[in-house]
């Protein structure tokens, strides 16, 4: 009897052990590059937790049809070589199948590596260069077949802003409004500069010489005086965080009469409150935290169960991070049913559906479609204004711009 008991126990423990081994094996590795300490940390501190909380929620709710996502976040502080070293480690040591990336510098540096290794990337860089998977546009230097992102590209978001500005000027009776581009002379602020200025000119706007505003916060009264002297009606800001706050404050002191429009990373409630902004125009690709869209319940649940600091409400960057993870999740589910979760299959999974909103996130993520020749998921851009009233940001949606998916705009 005793022996039998021991035998059963042994059998059971082997079963448990093997079951846990199966479980341990049944996971896939996803790397996540984040910036909590570098130059883009202002928004990185909201986006990174969005990725982590979404992955934790997926794991707690059945994973990818039973497969757990094993994720490692590495704060690379926007240092490109460190991103590359980390990528190589994940590739060779962890058998990474997908990457949630971050900045323009590292994403563009990794394009050829991920294409060769067949690892799909969902970056938080929305640079227009990443949208041409086949090199269709003659201006595309390097096709990016494995690069995805959720939301409109920087170029498309800026085009939508100038389209709104042109309409706004017409409504206000301004003949040939003047448009000026503000931003540091760096890849991230510069990414949409030409594309956007060209479209502004196409719409009959008078495009002025761009003005360089550093990415680091500082006193920008000199730049504001230049803006004032230029007589610009609309100014687009390509920077983010502290730089935008400093610029808006300096320009209020100087007294410019310009409508400021921002890049998607340069407009959120924290920036508006810190800058005490008035009628600050910025794009978004998701609702804001207070929204009653049906899918926001899921986002709030992810946030409640997640490890992100609960003392402050998340910005819309957090919500876009959730979308980014859920598109990856559904592409992985498709891959699992169609030959296994390899990078190549996951990429195919991104093409499987059209006008697609991840399950449970209705009203949160915009319907998006990716195809083998076009990685512009969506070209619909919501335009909002933000004003700080008694220290609190009041954000209103003022337009939805749906841009045409013109062939000459792909990858640009």
């Amino acid at each position: 009897m005793g022996n039998k008991h021991i035998g059963r126990l042994a059998g059971l423990s082997i079963l448990v052990a093997s079951a846990s081994m199966v479980q341990a094996q049944d996971s896939v590795f996803v790397g996540n590059l984040i910036d909590y300490t570098g130059p883009t940390a202002f928004v990185g501190k909201n986006y990174g937790p969005g990725i982590k909380d979404a992955v934790d929620w997926i794991n707690a709710n059945g994973g990818i049809s039973g497969t757990q996502i094993e994720m490692e976040q590495v704060d690379y502080a926007y240092k490109v070589p460190e991103a590359i070293a980390t990528y190589k480690r994940w590739k060779s040591r962890k058998k990474m199948v997908a990457l949630q990336g971050w900045g323009t510098g590292d994403t563009e540096a990794l394009i050829s590596f991920v294409a060769k290794d067949k690892i799909p990337v969902w970056s938080a860089s929305y640079s227009g260069h990443l949208t041409d998977p086949t090199g269709l546009n003659s201006k595309t230097e390097k096709p990016a077949p494995y690069n995805f992102f959720y939301g409109p590209s920087y170029s498309d978001a800026c085009r939508a802003m100038v389209q709104w500005a042109a309409d706004d000027a017409k409504a206000g009776g301004v003949e040939s409004p003047r448009f000026v581009y503000l931003g540091d002379n760096h890849p991230y602020p510069n990414a949409p500069k030409e594309a956007c200025s060209e479209y502004a000119a196409e719409l009959g706007m008078d495009v002025l010489n761009p003005i360089v505003v550093p990415m680091k916060p500082g006193d920008f009264k000199a730049q504001c005086l230049t803006i004032k002297d230029s007589g610009a009606n609309y100014a687009y800001i390509g920077n983010l965080g502290g730089s935008v706050v400093s610029l808006l404050k300096s320009c209020r002191t100087v007294g410019t009469e310009v409508k400021y429009m921002a890049n998607i990373w340069g407009g959120d409630y924290r920036t508006i409150e810190a800058a005490e902004a008035v009628d600050y125009v910025f794009p978004s690709a998701s609702p804001f935290w207070e929204s009653d869209a049906p899918g926001m319940d899921r986002v709030r649940e992810i946030h409640a169960q997640g490890s992100f600091d609960k003392s402050e409400k998340p910005t819309h960057h957090y919500i876009r991070a959730v979308c980014s993870v859920f598109y990856m999740k559904e592409a992985m589910e498709w891959a699992k049913q169609n030959g296994g979760m390899t990078g190549e299959n996951i990429k195919q999974g991104m093409y499987a559906k059209k006008d697609w909103v991840p399950d449970g996130l209705e009203g949160v993520c915009l319907p998006s479609s990716w195809s083998e020749t076009d990685h512009r998921g969506t070209t619909t851009v919501s335009i909002n204004t933000g004003t700080a009233v008694d220290g609190k940001a009041v954000i209103k949606k003022i337009a939805d711009v749906s841009l045409p998916q013109r062939d000459d705009w792909i990858g640009y």
Binding site: D75, A85, K88, S92, G105, I111, E141, K142, N185, P187
Partner: protein, 357 residues
Amino acid sequence: MSTSSLRPCGDFRTTYKQDQYLFLTRWIGWAAALGLLVLLAAPLLLDAYLISLMILIGIYGIAALGLNIVVGMTGQISLGHAAFFGFGAFASAWINGTTGIPVFLSIPLAGVLTTAVGMLFGLPAARIKGLYLAMATLAAQFILEDFFARASWFTGGSSGSLAETVNLFGFLLDTDERYYYLVLFWVIVSYIAVANLKRTRDGRALIAVRDHYLSAEIMGINLTRYRVMAFGISSFFAGLGGALFGHYLGFVSAEGFTILLSIQFLAMIIIGGLGSVPGTLLGTAFIVLLPQVMQSLTSGLIGTFPGALSGLASGQAYIKEMSIGAAIILFLIFEPDGLAHRVGQIRKSIKLYPFSY
């Protein structure tokens, strides 16, 4: 500076030629040969991650070697090294892209082009030194950084420029293992070249300029010439390293070559040992590996004690950054002559054991 040669007792050099051997003793020669064999076999033994780290060490090592010529050998200061490194990367992509010269040739040519730029920015060195020169080189950093973002014809502007894969007569160096050999080749060539430079007339002149410029001038050394030359040679290696870096990534973006990288180069040579050729490689390895080691160390600790150290997870990045800063401070205090000096001390103590006098 420790200059003792560690030659065994009774090993006399009777000719100048003998005194000029690159390897002080036969055993050092054999050890170097063995080390070379290990390095050649590394891609067979190590995984892609370690190879990629070795490639980065090699590339930065070449650039840091250049900086060591200016700072360690000639006693000047340069805070613009990352800009020259970046210039090399863009130059190689540009030469290859516009003229069609194969990449394996455009890499050294980019070094030559960077030499010209380096000498141009090194011209103030003929007149000024110390803090003033530091500021002048800092200006070089800013001028070139802005140039990268503006000169679309040369760098592709803010969208960066594409660097072709190295193609050796139809054989593509498109994997880490293959690229490693190209980097290793240039590391060996560069390090032997600089080790030799130190033993030439010009090399000794550079060291004389560092040790006492007035005495050097009285001896007939043309200070202007050697100071500008130091910048030129230094920029050559920066450009060479940059070109290798550009073609390794396949893409060159202006974002990567900031003042922070310049300071990292300085940290590499300080930790390695100012003026020491092998020390440069040690210091580079230290700076490249430290964040990786700290990352796995903290991840390992958090993984082992998830409860007690959960608070550490959010501070992981700070630990990494702090460790680099702390390492530099600790080296300045406890090991001002760098790792090369420490290695020498260890060798000496083994050699002299048990009679350490």
